[in-house]
């Protein structure tokens, strides 16, 4: 269904709306509808309540129990269970008076300011927040398609069944086998994620499959935190030696994919042909399908926004946050989504109160594990200059030191951070 058809369908149903829903809203309590209950949407719901105690807040999310991508690699290697990264909307309902509706949004009428639900009645909004996440692009790699990703070559890039499928394939590998990861091109969700996963899989091999190795086929020549990651690989997995457990093949060495043969688990890259025992194919990404259906995306497949308020540049009164939004130098991370959600809802609270939103400052911190006792991190602070999000000089990445305390502390901080961050979003 394209956007026009959707709007048409919505127009028809709008006639059936009760008169009260179409009444002017300016003399009533404002209603903010949030679509998508991931990190961005859940944070937006909670923090909007803190910023605007009297606003009516509705969150629409299809699933009742949300599984975060955060730490899902820990599930693959058996350090956490899916339950450890599963969250409910109970606190948003009980503590923050958010009306959580488990339903699917199937249409948007920006003129009437309504969203249409698959099962429920349409919702009329004063401001709409959309946090649609990402979806995958199949790309032009011959032999790779959705069915392959759901059977032989899981991405494990949305937590849930994909996570467990990849875990099963890792565990089923023969001794001395090869795990091939296909890393995605930028921009994609969780820039350090592929390299953390390669690290933790190598660590798992040390214990369970000591002669196995990880091959990363990468369409890029560098990646975030690559300096501390490669140092960790040298220290932990023999990187740059003949016995390295991790082999990283960047674009310059032929890391770009050409075709796959699912039946024989063979991947052909520019560098040659790789016979795998387990394949983790992380495809290229774009904004979540919902953003396309709502007409919020540009030609590149992402959502342009006013960087100070995250209001869509395409549709008025609709804000887009998280991975789907174009945020320039801000990476597509859960932390960024959380930070953007806070900025967007403060702007919404200001706008609803007739005030001009202020100048935001945003943060991103990414902790990754290169091993269970070895953390690497990056921290950035951002501000908006000429409608571009730029990094401030007060930013940094893990230093390389000879202190054993430094990477260990980062790993401990990582776990504490994860616990408090999940609470910040869902509790």
């Amino acid at each position: 269904m394209n956007r026009r058809e959707l709007l048409k369908a919505l127009g028809a149903s709008a006639l059936l709306l009760p008169a009260s829903a179409l009444a002017k809203t300016h003399n009533k309590t404002a209603h903010v509808v949030i679509v998508g209950g991931g990190i961005g949407g859940a944070t937006a719901a909670k923090y909007l309540r803190l910023a605007a105690p009297h606003v009516q807040i509705t969150l629409v999310e299809p699933v009742k129990r949300f599984i975060t991508c955060l730490r899902s690699t820990d599930v693959i290697v058996g350090h956490m269970s899916l339950d450890d990264i599963t969250f409910t909307y109970d606190a948003l309902r009980a503590k923050y008076r958010v009306n959580v509706i488990h339903d699917r949004v199937v249409g948007l009428n920006p003129d009437k300011k309504t969203v249409q639900l698959l099962n429920g009645k349409p919702l009329t909004y004063d401001r709409l927040v959309v946090s649609p996440g990402v979806d995958f692009i199949q790309g032009d790699v011959e032999g790779y398609n959705r069915e392959v990703s759901e059977t032989v070559m899981p991405h494990g890039w949305k937590a849930g069944p994909q996570t467990l499928l990849l875990k099963k394939q890792l565990e089923a590998m023969p001794q001395g086998g090869t795990y091939v990861m296909v890393a995605p091109p930028l921009p994609y969700r969780c820039p350090p994620g592929p390299y953390e996963r390669a690290s933790l899989v190598a660590e798992w091999f040390q214990k369970h499959n000591p002669k196995a190795k990880v091959v990363i086929l990468d369409p890029k020549d560098s990646f975030t935190k690559d300096v501390p990651f490669k140092k960790a690989w040298e220290r932990l997995y023999g990187f740059n030696t003949a016995n390295s457990m991790i082999e990283w093949i960047p674009a310059a060495q032929g890391g770009k994919m050409l075709r796959v043969d699912a039946a024989s688990k063979t991947l052909v890259a520019e560098a040659g042909s790789f016979k795998a025992d387990a394949v983790n194919y992380i495809p290229p990404q774009r904004a979540g399908t919902l953003a396309f259906r709502m007409g919020l995306t540009n030609r590149e497949g992402w959502c342009p926004v006013d960087r100070r308020t995250f209001e869509s540049s395409i549709i008025k009164d609709v804000h887009v946050i998280g991975d789907a939004a174009i945020a320039d130098t801000m990476p597509k991370s859960g932390y960024s989504a959380n930070s953007q959600a806070k900025v967007a809802v403060q702007a919404i609270a200001d706008l609803l109160a007739g005030k001009t939103p202020g100048e935001p400052a945003m943060i991103n911190v990414c902790y990754s594990l290169a091993g269970q006792d070895y953390g690497v991190s990056i921290a950035d602070i951002f501000k908006v200059v000429d409608n571009r999000i730029v990094k401030l000089p007060a930013s940094g990445v893990s230093p390389i030191t000879d202190s054993p305390a430094q990477p260990l502390l980062e790993a401990v901080y990582q776990r504490n951070w994860h616990r408090t961050f999940a609470n910040d979003c869902f509790a």
Binding site: S403, A405, L409, N416
Partner: protein, 252 residues
């Protein structure tokens, strides 16, 4: 290392414990912690004495290096004077107490502060006993922490009486009888200096004792006293001990 607890004071301490009828109580108090599944390990006095007897005389210069090299300074401040309300200052602390605390962590005895204690547990597992003694010597060589800026002198005055005289009716002995007249030190290895300690950290520690969630006090003594203190009294004591810190610019 400097053995500040000698046989007479150790014997005196045992006598105090006997007076309060506390011997053998520790296990029962630890059991109150409903959140921890396994009971927390605790010191026996003789065990602790033996462990500390093995510790060497620390080298403060090596301790200074370790303070930065092991990232202690990240939370406890450039020199051990904590810039954070969450973590304790270490300057002027008694060496025995620092070594004992690091051993507490190393042996995973400290599960207070929920999982936050894990930072110290993991770091102390990287340290050998000589390094612990070096760190202890470095902190001990410095003056007590300076009075934290958030110290409330009105509250401090309220705390002074309880600290100096205790409350006989409720079975609370004077804090100063173990922690020193000016909070400068204690008579046994498990009684720290308290002068200048960050009041928020002091309150956290007392709340952990009160809830039975911290069991690093040999024989459960602090848990016993803290149990009978009100939140208001804990606050007052925190500010009293904070107010006893060094005064910047004064020669200590």
């Amino acid at each position: 290392m400097n053995k500040t607890f000698t046989s007479p004071s150790f014997a005196a301490r045992l006598a105090t414990l006997a007076t309060w009828g506390l011997l053998g109580l520790s296990g029962a108090v630890a059991a109150q912690d409903a959140k921890s599944v396994t009971p927390m390990p605790e010191w026996e006095y003789t065990q602790l004495e033996q462990a500390l007897a093995k510790a060497s005389q620390g080298n403060p210069e090596s301790g200074k290096h370790l303070h930065h090299y092991m990232y202690c300074s990240a939370c406890h401040g450039d020199d051990g004077n904590s810039p954070s309300r969450n973590w304790p200052s270490l300057t002027g602390q008694k060496p025995d107490y620092v070594v004992k605390t690091l051993l507490d962590y190393k042996q995973d005895m400290r599960r207070d502060h929920y999982r936050k204690a894990q930072v110290m547990t993991r770091i102390s597992q990287l340290l050998n006993e000589n390094q612990m003694a070096d760190l202890a010597a470095y902190y001990a060589r410095q003056a007590a922490p300076s009075v934290p800026p958030q110290t409330n002198l009105k509250l401090a005055r309220q705390g002074a009486k309880l600290a100096q005289s205790g409350d006989e009716k409720r079975g609370i002995s004077a804090c100063s009888s173990c922690h020193g007249e000016k909070g400068e030190s204690g008579i046994t290895p498990d009684t720290p200096a308290l002068a200048g300690q960050t009041p928020e950290y002091f309150v956290q520690a007392m709340q952990m004792y009160k809830a039975g969630m911290r069991s690093s006090d040999v024989g459960g003594v602090m848990r016993m006293f803290a149990k009978n203190l009100t939140e208001k009294e804990i606050q007052a004591l925190a500010h009293y001990y904070a107010s006893l810190g060094s005064v910047p610019g004064k020669d200590n």
